[in-house]
């Protein structure tokens, strides 16, 4: 009876295991192998051992990209969480036309990345673009967003938050709707204010879903290629280059597959460590 029980689920899992094996596992192993060699897309080079990794440690771009990836993840998770929770709380209240707004708030998330980038580039294109016209109304001089390191970073953060907050909002809204109403009634009897109810009932009830959401959002942000690539291409002067863009630049522009693979492999290790640590945290507390 026992072996049958193991074989049967295996039969069900087989197609996806094959797919994952081909697209993820095998490339993971060979990708690691590439990171130990010199070489180009068309020709593998000589064995370097850990050479590519030691080169990385001494490479300023790598540390910059790592720092930018981390800041990118933190701002995006924080921004999406605040915006998502705020709108979810509003939507959880009694609002006329709720289904309409639900769709309206999801739009930035469902449209293709290239579409959101085209529309955002127009918003900030020049001194006469909508965002600068708005700034002019409040008496601020036009900002040339893509010409300044800091502002280019801000634009990348903003567009990423814009593109991904709806997912956060949706999941938190589902979480809010799942909270047992009697908990609020109990606190109301105790004479708690709305703020206290939020702190002592709502937030603890959302804790688990929030942790999972933040882990996922961190992983997705660190893995994001499209937002910085399509808006700034990593510029000006590498200011918005994250680890994925750096790997891309080494593979496709510098024609150095070894270093490019090493950067992506390091990214993978960081994400794995992060996911394990956060899942442990959740298990210990939860």
């Amino acid at each position: 009876m026992r072996p049958r029980l193991d074989l049967l689920p295996l039969a069900f899992l087989l197609p996806s295991i094959l797919l994952i094996g081909l697209v993820i596992l095998w490339p993971l192993i060979t990708g690691f192998d590439y990171s130990l060699h010199a070489g180009t897309m068309l020709k593998q080079g000589r064995f370097l051992g850990a050479g590519n990794y030691t080169t990385l440690l001494g490479n300023e771009d790598f540390w910059h990209a790592l720092r930018f990836s981390v800041i990118f993840a933190i701002t995006n998770v924080a921004g999406c969480y605040l915006l998502g929770l705020g709108i979810a709380l509003l939507m959880n209240a009694d609002i006329p036309g709720r289904p309409f707004f639900r769709v309206a708030f999801l739009l930035p998330w469902i449209i293709p990345s290239i579409v959101s980038v085209v529309s955002w580039r127009w918003m900030i294109a020049d001194a006469h673009a909508p965002v600068n016209l708005l700034l002019k109304l409040v008496g601020i001089n036009p900002i040339y967003f893509l010409s300044s390191d800091i502002w280019a970073q801000v634009v990348v953060f903003a567009v990423k938050i814009w593109r991904s907050f709806p997912f956060m909002m949706l999941s938190l809204l589902a979480g809010l709707q799942g909270i047992d109403k009697t908990l609020y009634e109990a606190t109301a009897i105790d004479g708690a204010t709305r703020w206290q109810a939020f702190i002592y009932v709502t937030m603890p009830q959302l804790k688990n879903v929030s942790i999972v959401l933040c882990i996922l959002m961190t992983i997705w942000t660190i893995n994001d290629f499209e937002t910085p690539f399509l808006i700034t291409g990593g510029g000006p002067s590498y200011a918005t280059e994250n680890l994925i863009l750096m790997a891309f630049r080494y593979v496709f522009q510098r024609n150095n597959v070894g270093i490019g693979s090493a950067v992506s492999f390091v990214t993978f290790l960081i994400l794995t460590a992060l996911a394990i640590a956060l899942l442990r945290l959740q298990r210990d507390r939860g």
Binding site: L19, L22, P96, A104, L107, I111, P112, S116, F265, L271
Partner: protein, 277 residues
């Protein structure tokens, strides 16, 4: 707590939500409006609304690019990869819903790994595999990759649908003598019709929207998808805002239309999976 609040408060809230929704969707609204204005008007006019709505941008777009071909390619790739994802994910989701143990646990961890895998790490090895298989500049390379990349969310969604179908039904089928596969195909799967539709449309959208993988593997205009085509257009006509907005609008229309069909399922499997990263 929710019902019976005074009217003004409700009105105020409606106003606030409307304002936020309008602000958040401003880039999309501008894009739509600008796609019907000539580039000269966009650059010269201080108004944000079209003075004289025109279709010149769309005419230019369809005349100057292979947009129709790009759409055809995108649809083919999205449909085929959806079929791959749905078949693999439905089977795996069923296994995760009905069994526990080391195999299923290990598989669940593997799914998590897929979710956080930086796909760029796989691009070069995949490039080499597909080169050997003669599948570069071919839609099939991208179809297989999408099939795998979209597995985690699809599997998690299927699992939550299957969890809601009582196990007693499978067992009844087992007693009838139609093994596990019979129970799955004859009882469980038909009962999750709406769920399957939702998974299918989500993986369709995710494939249709994807840019990175497509831009690496599809470099021939005959096989390019819409996002890759738009990016090429964006580089070639960087200051032709009218044309760009038309390209973006035309690209977003199918996404939007399909999303309308599934938006009510969107909360399913909510936390565990997501349409895109």
């Amino acid at each position: 707590m929710m019902a019976g609040q005074p009217r003004p408060r409700r009105g105020l809230r409606l106003l606030a939500v409307s304002a936020i929704a309008a602000a958040i969707n401003a880039p999309i609204i501008f894009m739509l409006l600008n796609s019907f204005r000539s580039t000269e008007e966009i650059m010269a006019s201080a108004s944000l609304l079209p003075d004289v709505p025109t279709l010149v941008n769309f005419v230019f777009l369809f005349a100057r690019t292979n947009y129709v071909q790009f759409f055809f390619n995108s649809f083919f790739i999205a449909i085929a990869s959806t079929v791959v994802t749905v078949i693999a994910a439905a089977l795996a989701g069923y296994a995760m819903s009905r069994w526990q143990g080391r195999l299923v646990g290990g598989y669940a961890r593997m799914l998590l790994m897929v979710q956080m895998f930086p796909i760029i790490l796989a691009l070069i090895p995949l490039f080499i595999i597909f080169r050997v298989l003669g599948m570069i500049n071919s839609p099939f390379s991208v179809i297989i990759i999408y099939g795998a990349v979209h597995l985690p969310f699809a599997t998690w969604m299927f699992r939550s649908f299957f969890d809601s179908i009582p196990r007693e039904l499978d067992e009844a089928a087992l007693v009838d003598g139609s093994g596990r596969f019979g129970a799955f195909f004859r009882i469980v799967l038909p009962l999750s019709g709406p769920g399957t539709a939702a998974v299918a449309i989500f993986s369709f959208l995710a494939s249709y929207n994807e840019f990175f993988i497509a831009s690496v593997f599809l470099r021939d205009e005959a096989v390019m998808t819409v996002p890759v085509g738009v990016q090429m257009f964006m580089q070639q006509y960087a200051t032709d805002w009218g044309g760009l907005m038309a390209a973006a609008t035309a690209t977003a229309v199918p996404t939007f239309a399909l999303f309308m069909f599934v938006q009510k399922y969107v909360a399913y499997g909510g936390v565990e999976g997501g349409v895109k990263g």
